[in-house]
């Protein structure tokens, strides 16, 4: 054996390399089957960044379909409820420049809202129940409906189907617990060179 190797160095090297190639190939093939991941993991990541209002303002029936579409190369600025922060987060994830929100799909709302049914006007038609993407409306045919405020995403989808227009979108009540400290103004303006580059502090942070 050793003699054969010494006498035919090229052939033995070839055999050794081919052998190694086969072993590693088999190993990789096995690993690819064994640790296979179903679906595209980037879709999950995008989906987790979207606000999950399921409002359909992007033109897709829910957040996950839009996430799938983004993974296929759709533009990332079609989500008004998420707003600029969601666009930035997705841009960060996909390593692409962050565009402005596409106004065609709606404007970013300043305040969060929830649906509220004026219960004495409700006729019990169940149309809003069918429209609600997150099952946040309770009720039955010819009986009064009501919104579970904690589950409502404020997507607006129930407002349009209501035949008696008894659904209002009300701002979410904010008490002491929801109150947020205001952000103090960014320190600049005292040094002359700062005034022209007002964003210098932001850049310095990265």
């Amino acid at each position: 054996m050793i003699e054969f190797v010494f006498q035919n160095p090229i052939i033995s090297a070839l055999v050794a390399l081919v052998g190694l190639g086969l072993i590693f190939g088999a190993l990789l093939g096995f690993a690819a089957e064994k640790f296979k991941i179903e679906g595209d993991p980037v879709i999950d990541q995008i989906d987790s960044l979207l606000p999950q209002t399921q409002c359909g303002q992007c033109g897709f029936p829910g957040c996950r379909p839009y996430a799938e579409s983004i993974a296929d190369g759709d533009s990332i600025n079609k989500c008004p409820p998420g707003g600029q922060s969601t666009i930035n987060a997705i841009a960060n994830l996909l390593d692409v420049p962050a565009p402005e929100l596409d106004q065609e799909h709606g404007e970013e709302a300043d305040i969060k809202t929830v649906a509220y049914i004026r219960e004495d006007e409700c006729i019990g038609c169940t149309k809003c129940i069918q429209a609600c993407p997150v099952d946040a409306i309770l009720g039955a045919a010819k009986l009064m409906h009501t919104v579970i405020a904690d589950e409502c995403t404020g997507c607006d989808l129930c407002v349009e189907p209501c035949p008696v227009d008894c659904i209002d979108m009300l701002p979410v009540e904010s008490g002491i617990n929801q109150w947020q400290w205001p952000t103090p103004p960014i320190a600049n303006g005292l040094i002359a060179t700062d005034r022209t580059h007002s964003s210098s502090i932001h850049e310095g942070a990265s």
Binding site: Q52, Q54, R64, I176, A187, L190
Partner: protein, 572 residues
């Protein structure tokens, strides 16, 4: 002399404590109206248990605790409930919250009180319920319900009880004055606490060395009680819970844990006094010692103030000069907050009301850019990197903020105090903290929404599938039925037709019986028609009706004839 440890960082702002301790604790006249907020503690706000117009006595419970992390609230004086509505409360936001307004009747009449003199033979459980019912929440500033703190559970044995008498913030002397005048009661309160916690081996009173009179007042009462008074050099912020634990025990409280996790319970000294009053005298928490100080007030001293006393009432009785004053601060100059309205009431956590003159605490100067001097990092008692946190806070980089332990910041304000650029660092951190908390809440909510959405999709899909399956089954069944019914060939068709006609044909006996039945029923009908005609003729009915009846009779007779002939044919 016990060993003490030295915390990192810290600052030495001018103390300004002497002004308010020259006089003993005073009391104010009862204000005409007292406003008692329902949420004076951390946790769920209490639930009002009185109605508008109810007469209440001093110390009467006016709100029940809502859940375990909550405390009761009591009427601070006797009078009438004149409003239950949202009012501005002592909170940095200036937001309104539910309050009970009591119009005083001036009598200040106590409800009947019942205390327990012999607390050592009372179970800790009973004592804890007394403490909750007396409305006692931490009086050092945070307002955490004390009974919850005193009940750490079996899995967390307590070996050290720390009583916090540090009072490290400038100007505030409420605890100092309380100790000087009521040391005996405080020690009694500590003994109750110790009994409730199962007599921990170490009981320490931590106090800064700038309060020698208070230390002296405590000493005669602590001899041979096992309670140690430990004094240490004055430095701000030694009174923070984590800092005090380190100073007294050398133990560092790990991030995200509570003192009970390392066998320590830390209680403010004002709270121990309130506990003594509640247990021994049965007196609920309706008043507290609050420092009224600052150059804009002529009188600087401590008061025993009823909870719910409006700030304006306090200021009035201390000859407040609005023109001289830069702002009214609740709490100390480092961690307190400016009040937006002077109608805000004193609550259980208000240890100081500071009305400084403009020279004393000038208005905030505009912030300048950070020059990276690093003084904040030297001052930080939690060993954080304040300037780094500032950059990330401004860039809203929440991940990096959290990896730099933003949530270990105790918001003491030492960094802002030393900052040469006047950057309101703590405000940036507070803002970022609330942003991060909000983002986390939203994440939880969106995960919930996703789950519900996916469940709904699945349900609709399932329903569609079931419907489809049903439809398919029905189609299959119809097809099958057709198949079994459908003849295969022309011969089969003929055979099937023959079988059908055969099945229709009756046997001769059956036919006979059938015809006989027909004949008998026809006879019956003829008889009926005959009798009807007879009665009609007898009662002389109109002619046309008789005609109809006779026609019916003849029809019936014909049918009878037919049946008879068919029966005759069959018999043949």
């Amino acid at each position: 002399m016990r060993q003490t440890w030295v915390t990192p960082g810290g600052v030495h702002p001018p103390e300004n404590k002497h002004q308010s301790v020259t006089q003993p604790i005073g009391s104010l006249p009862i204000p005409e109206k007292l406003v008692v907020p329902l949420g004076q503690h951390i946790g769920a706000p209490a639930i009002a248990c009185v109605k508008l117009g109810d007469k209440v006595l001093k110390g009467q419970k006016i709100a029940d605790p809502a859940g375990t992390v909550s405390v009761a609230i009591h009427a601070p004086t006797s009078g009438t409930v004149s409003a239950i509505e949202a009012r501005p409360i002592a909170h940095s936001s200036g937001i309104e919250a539910l309050c009970i307004e009591i119009t005083s009747d001036g009598k200040d009449q106590w409800i009947a009180l019942q205390g327990i003199a012999d607390f050592e033979h009372t179970t800790p459980k009973t004592l804890l319920s007394i403490i909750t019912d007396a409305g006692i929440a931490g009086m050092g500033g945070a307002g955490f319900p004390t009974a919850v703190k005193l009940n750490p559970g079996f899995h967390r044995p307590i070996d050290t009880l720390i009583v916090n008498a540090t009072e490290c913030e400038p100007y505030i002397t409420a605890d100092d004055a309380l100790i000087r005048e009521r040391a005996e009661e405080i020690i009694e309160g500590i003994r109750i606490l110790s009994h409730t916690l199962g007599n921990p081996s170490n009981i320490l009173i931590g106090i800064e060395d700038n309060k020698p009179e208070a230390i002296q007042a405590l000493e005669p009462h602590t001899q041979d009680t096992g309670i140690n008074v430990v004094s240490f050099p004055t430095k701000y912020p030694s009174g923070g819970e984590k800092q005090l634990i380190y100073i007294l025990t050398g133990k560092e409280l790990p991030s995200g844990q509570i003192p009970a996790d390392i066998g320590i319970v830390c209680v403010n000294i004002g709270t121990t006094y309130a506990i003594k009053r509640a247990v021994v005298e049965g007196e609920p928490l309706v008043s507290r010692v609050t420092t009224m100080t600052g150059e804009a007030c002529e009188i600087n001293r401590n008061y025993d103030v009823l909870i719910g006393t409006p700030v304006s009432h306090m200021l009035e009785h201390n000859k407040f000069d609005a023109e001289k004053c830069s702002r009214v601060i609740m709490g100390g100059p480092m961690m307190g907050f400016s009040l937006m309205s002077k109608d805000i009431p004193i609550v259980k956590t208000s240890n100081c009301l500071l009305a400084p003159s403009v020279e004393e605490i000038p208005h905030n100067e505009p912030a300048q850019p950070c020059i990276r001097c690093g003084m904040c990092a030297e001052a930080c008692p939690a060993s954080l990197l304040p300037q780094q946190l500032l950059w990330y806070s401004q860039a809203k980089d929440y991940d990096r903020l959290q990896s730099h332990n933003l949530f270990d910041c105790i918001e003491c304000g030492a960094c802002s105090y030393v900052c040469p650029s006047n950057i309101p660092l703590v405000q940036h951190y507070r803002s970022s903290k609330s942003d991060i908390k909000k983002a986390e809440e939203e994440k939880i909510k969106s995960a919930q929404a996703r789950e519900r959405f996916e469940f709904r999709q699945q349900r609709i899909e399932q329903a569609d599938k079931e419907r489809e399956a049903k439809r398919a089954a029905r189609r299959e069944a119809a097809l099958q039925a057709k198949k079994t019914a459908a003849p295969n060939s022309a011969a089969d068709i003929v055979a099937a037709a023959q079988a059908r006609t055969e099945a229709k044909q009756l046997s001769p006996e059956q036919e006979q019986a059938k015809l006989e039945r027909a004949v008998s029923s026809a006879e019956m009908r003829v008889q009926k028609a005959q009798s009807k005609l007879d009665t009609a003729v007898a009662s002389e009915e109109p002619e046309d009706k008789i005609k109809i009846l006779s026609a019916a009779l003849s029809g019936a007779q014909q049918k009878l004839e037919k049946a008879k002939t068919r029966l005759a044919e069959q018999s043949n």
